[in-house]
């Protein structure tokens, strides 16, 4: 399994996730930096993401949309806070309106990503997600329920195909 550990910390409103990926840090970095690769993993297959803007430098940012099975769209933005290629990355992720403008009332998540060589050409990726408030955390996961459900369905498909 790629995910080694997950540590939810309700009091700090953080989720820390450690994963080991079978590629060197420079390759894993591309998954974040190249918009065409990024959009292949950010959204679930039923809600694929399209990054229309992606500038992975400190002070830069991204705009993306996710398209649901019935054609409905959800828009999002990234604000890049710090970049140390290919070792670390810090950014904020939020929701946008149809024009790509950030919606201030909707939850934002701060993400810190660390990539470390883990030997034999693999990478240990540590991801810390931090929510501004508990209310935002609940709001976001309620909105993300769609993803959780489609993910569960995908796993069922895999089981059936096995």
């Amino acid at each position: 399994m790629a995910v080694i550990s997950t540590t939810p910390d309700p009091s700090a409103r953080t989720l820390t996730l450690v994963a080991e990926l079978a590629a060197p840090p420079a390759r894993v970095w591309q998954l974040w930096s190249d918009p065409r690769q990024l959009e292949r993993w950010w959204g679930p297959p039923t809600w694929p993401a399209t990054f229309v803007e992606h500038d992975l430098v400190a002070g830069g940012g991204s705009r993306y949309r996710m398209t649901g099975p019935d054609g409905e769209q959800a828009h999002g933005w990234w604000s890049v806070l710090a970049v140390d290629e290919p070792r670390s990355l810090e950014l904020e992720d939020g929701f946008a309106d149809e024009a790509g403008q950030p919606v201030p009332d909707l939850p934002t998540t701060r993400m810190r990503v660390r990539l470390e060589e883990a030997g034999a050409g693999s990478t240990r990726m540590t991801l810390v997600s931090e929510f501004a408030t508990v209310e935002q955390m609940e709001q976001l996961t309620q909105m993300g329920m769609v993803e959780g459900l489609t993910l569960a369905m995908g796993q069922m498909d895999e089981l059936l195909a096995a």
């Binding site: 690769q37 991801l127 609940e138 976001l140 993910l151």
Partner: protein, 129 residues
């Protein structure tokens, strides 16, 4: 909000669960109700201190107190605990999905990786003879 409906404020729920003694109390009284004095005998702290912890948990809606004779019986409210844990769990599921897809991408043959790397359009196939 789910936790609000359970009678507690979400921030209070998480603040209450941030303390190890209070987590322990919640786990105990979720299994069966216990009096405050019975709880107090389990911890190396004063009755008043335990009573304070119980009050914090009660304000967060994680436990409820019920008078039985001369005793106060504390019982856990599992719905509130579940609601609090659920949001982080759902978020974890989202990331497990993303990391699974990352793995799939990294496992793709190198040639396709190279195509993803360059922003140039894929080469057009040679015209048929």
């Amino acid at each position: 909000m789910v936790v609000d409906q359970q009678g507690g404020d979400a921030d209070r729920v998480f603040a209450a669960l941030a303390d190890a003694t209070r987590r322990d109390i919640v786990l105990r009284v979720l299994q069966h109700a216990e009096s405050v004095s019975a709880l107090a005998s389990r911890y190396a702290m004063s009755f008043a201190a335990v009573q304070k912890h119980v009050a914090v948990l009660e304000r967060a809606g994680l436990v409820s107190k019920e008078r039985r004779g001369r005793e106060q019986l504390v019982s856990g409210r599992i719905d509130a605990v579940r609601a609090a844990a659920r949001s982080l769990q759902l978020y974890e599921e989202i990331w497990r999905g993303r990391i699974g897809r990352m793995e799939d991408l990294l496992a793709e043959p190198l040639r396709e990786d190279a195509a993803w790397l360059s922003s140039a359009p894929p080469p057009t196939p040679p015209p048929a003879p």
